[in-house]
């Protein structure tokens, strides 16, 4: 066990001693600050103080007026279909008023919540790391020195895989914490457990921002782990990081299209990407294919995961390390 710990330290050292890794964090930081600046420009800075009811009503009057102006400019037929650009906001304001909920101002927590999309970038970076961690040893020729030690190849491979997962974890933490800090600087913090009103499948509901953060990031993590494991497998099989990065990113991008393309086939539900988004089973959502269930998707994910790891193990432990 302690030997394994040393292996983890070694892998971390090799990862974090290189500038390219830090450039990744630098890029993430720049993107987060950029998003903060962007949100700062586009959020309305209306204060909902003790007179929030009046403020909301005034807001609604203004919005309704705008809507009417809009409809006057439209042909009659269209106006019946489209209630106007502000109807969504009006409904939301009405929900606040009807349920007597004081609107929460935009703050660090909501900024973190919105940055959920950054997990795609974290996935990308994790794929890059996963694709290189084995292949680079072959490229550098250091694999020979790495393997001629009294440690099984399986253990060395595991230390590399765990390092990839830890990298994803650290990077995720970085996104969460740095977003929160940037959010706090730009928008302030509205309490420790703020609630907001959001539109869920056509109905408004009040939800905890923290639980939204958890589920939003959580659902995306499944795809992240699966794609990183896939890249790791390709990298151990082909001993080439470019192929692994290319394939994994291509599949990550094309995943949904692949499922849509084959949607009418009987086996479509067994495609990995039909199952990576477990939020399809969340309240009010409907799954890709009607007869799919949460249990089914989890089983499919587990089977893929085991296949990815088993193939990595097989190729890494059984194959000769020969010259180029």
């Amino acid at each position: 066990m302690s030997r394994f710990f040393h292996l983890l330290i070694n892998e971390h050292m090799k990862l974090y001693i290189r500038k390219s890794t830090w450039i990744m964090y630098g890029l993430l930081a720049i993107i987060i600050v950029g998003l903060g600046l962007l949100s700062n420009t586009f959020t309305n800075d209306v204060e909902y103080d003790d007179n929030w009811r009046e403020t909301l009503q005034e807001e609604n009057e203004q919005l309704i007026k705008e809507n009417e102006e809009f409809q006057e400019n439209m042909a009659n037929g269209d106006a019946e279909i489209y209630a106007g650009p502000n109807s969504h906001l009006i409904e939301k304001n009405n929900y606040y008023l009807e349920n007597d909920i004081q609107p929460t101002p935009y703050d660090a927590w909501q900024f973190v919540m919105e940055n959920e999309m950054l997990l795609s970038i974290v996935s990308l970076l994790t794929i890059i790391i996963a694709a290189g961690i084995v292949a680079h040893e072959f490229k550098w020729g250091t694999i020979k020195l790495l393997l001629i030690r009294p440690i099984t190849r399986a253990k060395i491979l595991l230390s590399k895989y765990v390092t990839v997962l830890l990298f994803a974890f650290y990077t995720l933490c970085f996104v969460l914490i740095f977003s929160w800090i940037v959010g706090a600087l730009f928008f302030g913090v509205a309490g420790m457990s703020p609630h907001i009103v959001i539109n869920q499948n056509g109905d408004f509901a009040q939800v905890s921002v923290l639980s939204e953060i958890m589920s939003g990031y959580g659902y995306k993590l499944i795809n992240l782990v699966m794609m990183a494991t896939f890249a790791f497998m390709i990298s151990t099989i082909f001993r080439n990081s470019t192929i692994a990065i290319g394939l994994a990113i291509f599949l990550m991008m094309a995943g949904n299209s692949i499922v849509t393309f084959f949607a009418d086939r009987a086996w479509a539900k067994y495609i990995l990407f039909a199952n990576t988004d477990l939020s399809q089973y969340a309240d009010g959502n409907s799954p890709w294919i009607d007869d799919m269930t949460l249990q089914f998707s989890i089983s499919v994910l587990v089977v893929y995961y085991i296949i990815f790891l088993a193939l990595s193990w097989l190729f890494f432990t059984k194959r000769d390390v020969a010259g180029q």
């Binding site: 030997r3 040393h6 292996l7 330290i9 070694n10 050292m13 090799k14 001693i17 290189r18 550098w140 020729g141 250091t142 020979k144 020195l145 790495l146 393997l147 001629i148 030690r149 009294p150 440690i151 099984t152 000769d320 390390v321 020969a322 010259g323």
Partner: protein
Amino acid sequence: MTEQAMELINVRKQIGKKEIIKDLSFTIQKGEVFGFIGPNGAGKTTTIRMMVGLMKLTDGDVRILGKSIKTNYKEAIREVGAIVENPEMYPFMSGWRNLQHFSAMIPSITKERIEEVVRLVGLEKVITEKVGRYSLGMRQRLGIAQALLHKPSVLILDEPTNGLDPAGIREIRHYIRRLATEENVAVIISSHLLAEIEQMCDRIGIIKNGELITTQSVQDTMEQVDLQQVEMEVSPIEQAIDLLKEKHELNATEKDGTLHFQSTKEVIPVIIQTFVQHEIAIYQVGVSKTTLEDKFFDLIGENAIE
């Protein structure tokens, strides 16, 4: 002491249909420096890869201090330090960090031990510099340092003299000899240039096309170096052979109607005198110097594969 450090038993390697190593067997004793010589493509690196478990054996076994690399890998490899092909290290880390990295993979290597091997290979001044900036010679030394960290019983160096100047080779020879005599390490050095390593070896094995052609002790061959290969056309040949045996204690053979034997340069005129005295007709005398190098080329032949 003649304890076996490493033993190759009928080792074979086949990749696809090609038989790269054909039934290789030899042993290396503790404290012995074994030169593994052969032209490029002969199979030296492949053999070494099998010795350290990077490649599987198609057939046969490799035993290190009696432990099989196939069935007892961890115990066997613990006794081995090696450089395979090129001394590749992580270029973005310092020499020191590289050594730290590899020492963390083996139990109980202290900081003092790392310092000791750095001193042994003489890299103290550059050890904190990035390996990417090292010359090939410095990388070779760092490679050797890495191989010595855990005090192995068997040290395997694949072409360690590649890219070194004569001074560098002399230096490597110096500490390899010291490891063998003082620490009783068995050293296996491969090279495609006999001249570069013959002086540091106790014994050499010559490999060609995946076959071990011969192993011989360097002592033997060194003695032979002073000997001349003499070829004489004489008649009658039988009497000449008898005379050589009688008067000069030389074993001569007859080949294609000519007389062949080895002797030092000084005795050749004496032999001729003897023949003249016994009325043996001498038509022709040919002398060629046999060095180890020549012997090597004799053995591997002209058509050395690249």
